[in-house]
Amino acid sequence: MTNRKKLQILNLEKAYKDKCALDNVSFDVIDGEFLSILGPSGCGKTTLLRIITGLISPDSGRIIKDGTDITKAPPSCRGMGIVFQSYALFENMTVLGNVEYALKIKRATRKHARQKATDIVDQLGLTEHISKKPYELSGGQQQRVAIARTLVLNPDIILFDEPMSALDVSTRLMLRKELKAIQAEFGTTMIYITHDQEEAFALSDRIMVMDEARIVQLDTPDNIIRSPKNNYVRTFVIDNLQAKIDSLANYTVLPLNSGQDL
């Protein structure tokens, strides 16, 4: 992994009416890494994701991608993709229709849309479902369609907003592996928002712990476990993780990314 900065977040601030959602948030995202943003609900992580993608604009601060200031660029020009917890698929279209829709709309990509969409659908193992509608698919399959829909536009960053919260445990484990495989294959930088400690540790190269609109700690999973920055990280991250592992221990071996036994 090269340590080239893919994304620089500089002093982001965002407040709603009376509540501060982001308080002077700055960090870098390294090219090709898997970065999890971990925090309880209401800590500002979804606001952060929406600002990075351009769906909302910050009160102040800057976003630099590959050396270019994109703070005010429209979402579709940022080379990013987003995957939501609720899939947000186009229910009236088939799997193929969902994937090729964005390509078909633009003149530049219209010609090879079908071919490209079919390829991506293939790569994500959805070929047998290609002409099904979303309601005929399982949750895991729907989420893969959502991923395919963003991948087809060749984003260099994909952001995930708690994409697995609606799925059952076994599907999650499977989808985790697939996410890592996709990352290996496409080299996409992934920013993954979750409130699930175990998930963050299983997937990430680095984890950013957030609380009350601020970054608490940003480090590798190993370092966070070895040297938690403060009491909050100790209780919210490590204790919860331990509890989850204890309760799951009877059922499955956790594919911990760090390979470290807790």
């Binding site: 769906l55 660029a73 579709s76 080379g79 947000a88 698929l89 009236n92 964005a102």
Partner: protein, 549 residues
Amino acid sequence: MESSVKKLIPKRSKPYISYLKHITDSGDIAKLIIGFIFVVLVIIPLARMLMHIDASSFNRVLKNVMFPTAVLNSVKVSVIATAITLLIAYLLAFCIERTGIRFKGILNIILILPMLIPSISHGMGLIILLGNNGVITRFLGLRTSIYGLHGIVFGSVMYAFPVAFLMISDVLRYEDCTPYEAAKVLGISGWRQFQSITLPYLRKPMISVIFAIFTMIITDYGVPLMVGGSYITIPVIMYQEVIGQLEFGKGCIYGVILLIPAVVAFIFDFLNKDKGNMSYVSHKLEYNKKKLVNFLSYSICALVSLCTILPIIAFVILGFTKNYPGDLSFTFSNIIKSLDMEADQYLLNSITIALLVSLIGVSLSFFTAYLTARMKSKMSKFLHLIAITSAAVPGIVLGLSYVIVFNQSFIYGTIAILVMVNLIHFFASPYLMMYNSLNKINENLESVGQMLGISRLRMIKDIFIPQSMTTIFEMSSYFFVNCMMTISAVSFLATMSNKPVALMINQFEAQMQLECAAIVSLAILTVNLLIKALVYFAKKAFLYNRSNI
């Protein structure tokens, strides 16, 4: 990529430009314009109507000896008819939704037939069946008269029960059945189950139904005009004052009186709505399979079906016999007679109005619902409220207020004004259907569109409209059917050149040409049935296509 990004960053824009951009992005300008249209077409006419009331007509109304009686009569009729309607509608809804009886499909069609003809036809149906010379009166040799309180109650129940039936069926269909199973396991008796599970669940929706039905009955003039006899109600007085004597000032006072229950119902309904309306069925209750229950269900359904079909049979008998009751031989002469009196022209008026209202109404309610449901901002709440306000205005009151505002203007006497008044009158329900349907579509779709670089308009065309097609079909049929059968909002506005056919019934009845009135009622029923069937098959074809692409 980078160069394209750089180009897209706007140069330091002036604050007012970014403010303007904010307004257009949130759709606030469109919301303001549509909101303004509703203010102009609902609030201003009502205000003008209130301003039209003067002291002298107020005094004359109060001095009228009939006035207190009419108020009392109206309340009495409406209370009795509402109670009976609810009882019958609940029983029927229970039979259809909660028992294992067969023929539910056909029953569902028969039971809503009365919704497809004007209220005035129900009154006329009663006269044909039970009037002094009626089919049943003669057949059984009855001596009683249909005119009076019981006649109005009977006719009003006929007119209102399909609406109540549909509303209650909906409530029962979406009731969660887990509590009943829990109760069964605990060995709680049926009656106790009804008391402690059904009643609390029904309370809120039932209040809405009660208010809706009560308002519907108390503001109707069709039934009491036909079978009221000397039993005078407020809408009938209002109708006679305005149509017969051109006493607009007095009409306005009666209008305000009719506005009261409707506004109370509206406010109550608005406050009474369950937040979010999240009820869903975890699974359906197993049907009651007791023989006695099935037998009772069949009997109730058969009896009510008979009552809904009888008037229609009566229309057919009267419309297609030479000279009822003297000469019962089959003939088309009544159709020809109706055509001679230009019934076809009026039918064409009605169809034109209905088509235009469906077309404009569907577009306007889709657009409004999109603005309120998919582009939420403070302005959305205002628009939503103003868009459903028209539901608080009874048609007859809306019609009167339109006469007062528009009778000097160029659109008076044209089809346009009838299109406008019907559009406003029937707007709230289809709008709410669309609002609910758009609200249910995934909230992140707009974000997905922005990320993929798909414009809002494109998303509407490719995603939102296709996903709302079934609702769009239902909306168009609602607008169409109601425009065909309404006699309330249009009654004061129609002139000889734009009169809809439903108003002919009254005219024919007054000319003692009941057979022509029967033909007209049948014509309205036929057109509405055709439209219902068309929408049904269009919906089916659409769903079939959708699952096969």
